[in-house]
């Protein structure tokens, strides 16, 4: 089973209804490389090899013109 079908299989196995990608460099990457990265991401997620997204930005920093 190649990586392309592995990610597609993962989507189907998990009942996914929609997927969107944001490629790092679409002029250089292949479709298979995007899917390979996607598959690595979901496997990392499943194995807990990830951290929650956090944004420490203080949104009380108003610009002077306000």
């Amino acid at each position: 089973m190649n990586t392309k079908s592995s990610f597609q299989q993962w989507l189907e196995d998990n009942g996914a209804i929609d997927v969107r990608f944001f490629p790092s460099n679409p002029s250089e990457s292949t479709a298979t490389e995007l899917l390979d990265s996607a598959y690595k991401a979901v496997k990392a997620y499943e194995s807990g090899n990830c951290v929650p997204y956090e944004d420490p930005i203080n949104d009380n920093n108003f610009f002077p013109a306000d």
């Binding site: 929609d18 944001f22 990457s29 995007l34 899917l35 990392a44 997620y45 009380n60």
Partner: protein, 194 residues
């Protein structure tokens, strides 16, 4: 794209009402923005940073019963990470009906790379998939670099003579999209002295 911009601005307004007393911050807190999106759309979103995601800045996967996972690559710098997160979250409130959804990963990936790598005419289906990505980018730009910030950006560039990199750092947004906005509004882009 007018509808996309309208929706993005409306969601940003809800965020401002909820988090800043409707005042305009130099940089929004993207995590709080996502909470507002969850509240407004009914989605339950898990958002994670992934280390091993070389060819993607980010990705969103949606599941039934309004569940979604947003993946953001650790390879992004802080500005790109925030932009990527907002771009992915934006799909939740802009593409709201099943006919907008796509679960064919290969077609999605192929459409994204083919736009740069093939001279062939793209199919209607590819065009639709690409439009979905552009929608996310347009929405993220509108949310992170709104028109309300334009006078401030113009001041930083024209009066304080700041370079775009420094302005982007202050806004915590990617320089590429800041420069796009500056060109849209005819703001001079300073270049480093020789």
């Amino acid at each position: 794209m007018e509808k996309v911009i309208f929706e993005a601005r409306a969601m940003r307004t809800k965020y401002l009402e909820s988090c800043t007393g409707s005042r305009q911050p130099v940089a929004i807190n993207t995590e709080k923005f996502a909470k507002v999106v969850e509240k407004e759309t009914g989605y339950s979103v898990e958002s994670i940073i992934i280390n091993d995601m070389e060819h993607l800045r980010g990705m969103i996967v949606r599941f039934p019963e309004k569940k979604a996972i947003v993946f953001v690559s650790d390879h992004n710098n802080d500005c790109w990470r925030r932009f990527t997160f907002i771009k992915e979250i934006s799909h939740l409130f802009i593409e709201t009906t099943p006919e907008c959804f796509n679960s064919d990963a290969y077609e999605q990936a192929k459409a994204l790379v083919d736009q740069y790598q093939t001279q062939d005419d793209v199919s209607d289906e590819s065009r639709k998939l690409l439009r979905a990505e552009v929608i996310g980018l347009v929405a993220a730009m509108e949310i992170m670099i709104p028109n309300e910030l334009i006078p401030y950006i113009a001041h930083l560039s024209n009066v304080e003579k700041m370079l775009p990199y420094a302005i982007a750092s202050r806004l915590r947004a990617p320089q590429k999209f800041l420069e796009f906005k500056m060109r849209q509004h005819d703001i001079a882009i300073n270049t480093p002295p020789n």
